[in-house]
């Protein structure tokens, strides 16, 4: 296949390049009505206009040139850039735990993509070792790329594949598993894996980064080190999310896969355990449990893998004046389960009642969670709640909405008997429902209050 010498250029810009015989990576002198510009032609990002030529000036800066101003282009040389993370063989050291890193995509390791102008994931033990050599001090790492999709494209197919891959690794006897994952939907995957992979003898740690590893302040390296520590040395054999505790480069949290949620669009410390404390903190020195009860690491290989998922499950976020057709359309489209995210203690308006009754009659499982995220569904408190329960809506205690969605898909994947589904849904798995909310489970402090300001000043955010 011949190489694309006009990488990313299209329309008018492409015509101009062809007219003057210019190609990407060529060192050129460009005559324009604004003066002469010298530099190397760079590829053009795909979603940008067709009016400019991108060049790297000799000082390393990029500039764009309006193609309409170009009167001539002279090629002076050619040098193609190869962007590659230096690859070094990951060293094996005796006595260190063997840890498997399963790749799904995401920004744990990434490189520049000229097509979109954004960063794309790069991944291999060699590359990782090149970028984070400290990993070799923690464990013997091997990697496998299961698939490469962005976080938002993860779905049931990927959950199932991951669960099966984890089962195989456990069978082979690895001492810990790390899953590299984009952060946007990490808490969906952590819930799915908690349900699909039960009784794991080893830690299964999901990790990502909020700042891609192409930037010096990235959290990727430290997150990876924390994940490797938790997977290789930690005693907690559960599915967990490992991400920054504070936004400072200090320590990470290990969150239970069923109680964690991404809570900020860009902070490093975006993942929080909801309605409880995180299960542990982790630093390069090791894992320090916060919760007293958790599943301990074992040496057997008795894991139970249930890689099933019913895809016809939906989640609807109730808003004021929601019309019944929102639910009707789900019924008409053959959905088998609906998670409602209700207001307050778990409420929706009266106009929805007939649609809910109809869903029940059509054999659709309907469950209730809360928009407040913190707290339990409490459908006995008001008439509305009692009415809804009478119409067949089942409250899900303090299960998080995303977790409820995943669990319902997983339950319906096993059986279509709604009583059986209900049993599965209401039987707690790894704290997806907790019997009680501790006093320190709900902590959202507000700035401006002297004691909070003192706290923020004293401890790193």
């Amino acid at each position: 296949m011949s190489e694309d010498i006009f990488q990313g250029y299209k329309g008018h810009a492409l015509e101009v390049m062809k007219k003057f015989n210019a190609r990407v990576w060529a060192k050129v002198k460009v005559d324009t009505s604004r003066g002469v510009f010298e530099g190397s032609i760079l590829p053009r990002a795909e979603n940008t206009d067709d009016k400019h030529l991108v060049m790297k000036f000799f000082t390393g800066y990029n500039i764009g040139i309006d193609v309409d101003t170009i009167t001539n282009i002279t090629e002076l040389g050619y040098k193609k850039a190869v962007y590659k993370i230096p690859e070094k063989e990951f060293p094996y050291s005796k006595g260190k735990p063997s840890v498997k890193l399963l790749g799904t995509g995401g920004t744990i390791a990434s490189r520049l993509d000229y097509r979109t102008g954004a960063v794309i994931p790069a991944f291999s033990p060699g590359e990782l070792y090149g970028a984070v050599p400290e990993l070799a001090d923690i464990c013997n790492l091997t990697t496998e790329k299961i698939f490469a999709v962005f976080s938002e494209n993860m779905g049931p197919e990927q959950y199932r594949k991951l669960a099966i891959a984890i089962g195989e690794e456990i069978e082979k006897g690895v001492q810990g598993i790390i899953i590299g994952h984009g952060t946007d939907t990490m808490h969906y995957t952590s819930a799915a894996l908690t349900f699909m992979v039960q009784n794991s003898p080893i830690p299964i740690v999901l990790v990502g980064s909020q700042r891609s590893s192409d930037r010096p302040s990235s959290d990727a390296a430290l997150n990876l080190m924390h994940a490797a520590t938790a997977a290789g040395h930690g005693d907690i054999a559960e599915v967990m999310v490992c991400m920054f505790g504070p936004t400072s480069d200090e320590y990470g949290f290990l969150h239970r896969g069923t109680r964690v949620r991404k809570m900020h669009s860009s902070y490093r410390s975006t993942f929080r355990t909801i309605g409880d404390t995180p299960i542990a903190t982790v630093s390069r020195k090791g894992v320090v449990p916060i919760k007293e009860e958790y599943n301990h690491r074992r040496t057997d290989r008795n894991v139970k893998i249930t890689p099933v998922f019913e895809e016809k499950v939906a989640m609807i976020y109730y808003y004021t004046n929601m019309q019944p057709d929102m639910i009707d359309s789900l019924i008409d489209n053959g959905y088998k389960g609906i998670i409602i995210i209700g207001t307050g203690l778990g409420h929706v308006n009266k106009p929805l009642y007939p649609a809910i009754v109809r869903a029940r009659e059509k054999g659709v499982a309907v469950y209730m969670t809360v928009q407040t995220l913190w707290g339990y569904v409490g459908m006995f408190v008001y008439d509305t709640g009692r009415d809804l329960m009478a119409k067949g809506v089942i409250p899900l205690e303090n299960m998080l909405p995303e977790v409820a969605y995943i669990k319902l898909g997983w339950a319906l994947g096993q059986t279509s008997d709604l009583e059986e589904v209900k049993k599965i849904m209401l039987t707690p798995i790894n704290s997806d429902i907790t019997p009680r909310e501790p006093y320190n489970g709900y902590l959202i402090y507000q700035g401006g209050v002297p004691e909070v300001e003192d706290f923020i000043k004293k401890f790193h955010k």
């Binding site: 324009t32 940008t48 009016k51 030529l53 790297k56 309006d66 101003t69 850039a81």
Partner: protein, 654 residues
């Protein structure tokens, strides 16, 4: 008989053989001889309301210990767009610094600490940058691309500065030549350092993110004075727009210097252009000295790649060393002795006035190995010869030969490995000549090592921001409202007959528009106004360290009052002195303070015949000028403001 090695004599001799001369004695021929070359990167903060990539206020500052929260980052090197690691990046990684940011709610937000992606580029800043680019005759780019420039010293929490080129290839007209400009970029300012001790560096985030332009010149300056001239020109040009910040720290320049055979060394953050001549002079000769050091070493070291230091850990008892610096915290301190083969005469070799080659090592131990100074002593120190015994012991422990030099360094155990590498590395660099580095400036013209000089390898496109197109119409619209060139300003000032010693002050504070306004609206002759500003105001400024309440445009109000009141403008100087100290005082009250009495011209002139008579009666000299002086002295106070002193003088008929 073997002659005893004398470091002091060696220092003097090497200073002479390098050919170092004081700047005052140096001529262009001297600079041509060593191949002096210098260029500038002039930074100028723009006077915008908000920061460049977020909506925080620009120009609001916090004290070092005033903050609401702190957070910590560690910087790791990453690859550039072209797939290379940068040298500085690797050095900074070696130092293992913990970077602490002190954040004040008033001045920084989550963008500043890299917890929120950038907001769209500040248009106000972009507009100013385009205007200044046009003034500097840059070719304006068709599309602005935001680039990340890596800074691993932590001065920016992201680890990179967002920066973008507005124009390339411009020029400025100096007195005797044109200086070429490489580029003008618009970028975010960095944090201000609070402290840097051991492995902890603390920054405050108030200045961070403020819009800044950087004008980069080619290395076209052929002597130290031209460097200053160029820097002043760019500074005045920026200020002539009236849209940039003034005051301490708002204009800073990095000065690049090399000599023939040397290499580009960057002197960072020089805030006063008056420092530049001495700094560049000393740096060019430092490089010239390093080249001689290279020659000297290579006379004995035939194979630099095989050259290596040898070292040994010792105890204080073993070498009977009594150093307060070590005793302070000796629980964690390790002491090492190091032999530097063939380095006798090198450690005490002249590098800068008052500095020798050994200083290059101690500076790097501080910066790279993070060992606070004093961190070493060596066998060729000028001040204490009394330690001879120690060095005899050290030499025997290391098995040194006559032609070697030795040093003793100390530091925390964790830093020893890096320290040994640093010593080895700096000595090897000496065999290569001049290392690429950035250096920190001191007022006396000397510099110390700051960082390894970064290259173009630290550039990376900013994937968080889209390119911004600049159409021809947009650029043309800016062209219309620009002030005249600075070289034309100089011509204008000369044409007005203004004394040359006022030029710098007038251009530095962009006061030509004020002079023009006083001339156009009040018919005050430019020469009068310029002298009032360039002499009286400058004098007041120097004496009083710029009072915050006085604004330069108050001078217009003062002159307007004088015109309205029908006073003679000569009184402006005296009034300005009072106004400067009491900016809130109204003008009438100022006149009262000055004991001013309104008297008619006739009345004053009416006093002349009496005074003339009086002078003639008592005259001691035949010189009429003495008479004029005596009479003017008597009437000066009364006349000031009421009649032009020249007119009064003309009426004196002796």
């Amino acid at each position: 008989m073997k002659q005893q090695f004398n470091p002091k004599r060696n220092y003097e001799e090497t200073r002479n053989s390098v050919g170092y001369i004081e700047r005052k004695q140096a001529t262009q021929a001297d600079y041509d001889h060593i191949g002096f070359m210098s260029g500038l990167e002039v930074h100028q903060q723009l006077d915008t309301k908000q920061k460049l990539f977020c909506r925080c206020p620009a120009g609001v500052f916090q004290k070092p210990d005033e903050y609401n929260a702190e957070l910590i980052r560690h910087m790791r090197p990453t690859l550039s767009e072209l797939g290379e690691y940068d040298g500085t990046a690797l050095m900074e990684f070696k130092t293992r610094k913990e970077i602490v940011y002190r954040i004040s709610n008033k001045t920084a937000c989550t963008y500043d600490v890299d917890d929120t992606p950038p907001f769209p580029l500040n248009r106000e800043a972009l507009n100013i940058a385009i205007g200044i680019s046009i003034l500097s005759k840059f070719k304006i780019v068709g599309e602005v691309h935001i680039t990340r420039k890596q800074y691993l010293d932590g001065s920016i929490p992201t680890g990179f500065q967002r920066t973008c080129i507005i124009g390339v290839e411009g020029e400025i007209q100096l007195k005797n030549k044109k200086a070429r400009l490489i580029q003008l970029s618009l970028e975010e300012d960095s944090c201000r350092e609070v402290s840097d001790i051991g492995h902890v560096r603390i920054y405050r985030t108030d200045r961070l993110g403020m819009p800044l332009i950087e004008t980069v010149t080619y290395p076209d300056f052929a002597n130290p004075d031209e460097v200053k001239e160029g820097a002043d020109y760019i500074r005045f040009l920026n200020r002539s727009t009236g849209m940039v910040r003034q005051g301490i720290g708002s204009t800073r320049a990095d000065v690049n210097v090399s000599c023939r055979g040397g290499t580009r060394v960057e002197i960072k953050g020089v805030a006063h252009t008056s420092w530049m001549p001495e700094l560049t002079h000393v740096e060019a000769f430092r490089q010239w000295a390093l080249l001689r050091i290279k020659e000297l070493i290579l006379q004995s070291v035939k194979e630099p790649s095989a050259w290596a230091v040898s070292s040994k850990e010792v105890s204080l008892k073993e070498i009977k060393l009594d150093l307060p610096a070590i005793h302070k915290d000796n629980r964690f301190t390790r002491i090492y002795i190091v032999n530097l083969p063939f380095f006798r005469g090198i450690l005490s070799h002249f590098t800068q006035p008052g500095k020798m080659f050994a200083d290059e090592i101690t500076d790097r131990l501080k910066v790279i190995a993070c060992i606070e100074k004093p961190n070493m002593i060596h066998s060729e120190m000028l001040e204490d010869m009394a330690r001879d015994k120690i060095w005899i012991k050290v030499k025997s422990l290391l098995g040194s030969r006559e032609e070697d030099a030795q040093l003793i360094f100390w530091g925390p155990e964790a830093d020893i490995k890096t320290a040994l590498e640093v010593i080895q590395e700096r000595c090897l660099m000496a065999m290569n000549g001049v290392p690429n580095e950035t250096r920190k400036a001191f007022e006396d013209g000397t510099t110390i090592f700051e960082r390894v000089l970064p290259g173009a390898d630290r550039m990376y496109p900013d994937t968080d921001s889209a390119p911004i197109p600049l159409d021809d119409e947009v650029i043309e619209s800016y062209r219309k409202n620009l002030p005249p060139d600075i070289c034309d300003r100089y011509t204008q000032l000369r044409a007005w007959g203004i004394p040359e010693d006022t030029f710098t002050f007038i251009l530095k504070y962009n006061l030509v528009p004020l002079i023009e306004r006083c001339s156009a609206e009040l018919s005050i002759p430019p020469k009068f106004c310029a002298t009032l500003i360039g002499h009286t105001l400058k004098h007041l400024n120097n004496k009083n360290n710029a009072l915050p309440l006085f604004r330069n445009d108050m001078i217009f109000g003062l002159l307007q009052f004088i015109r309205k009141r029908g006073l003679d403008p000569a009184i402006a100087g005296k009034m300005l002195r009072v106004l400067y100290e009491h900016p809130k005082m109204d003008f009438e009250s100022i006149l009262v303070t000055l004991d001013f009495k309104e008297v008619t011209k006739e009345e004053i002139l009416g006093k002349l015949p009496f005074l003339v008579k009086k002078f003639k009666e008592t005259r001691l000299s035949n010189d009429d000028r003495a008479g004029h002086r005596w009479i003017m002295g008597n009437l000066h106070k009364l006349a000031l403001g009421n009649i032009s002193l020249r007119e009064l003088d003309e009426h004196i008929k002796l």
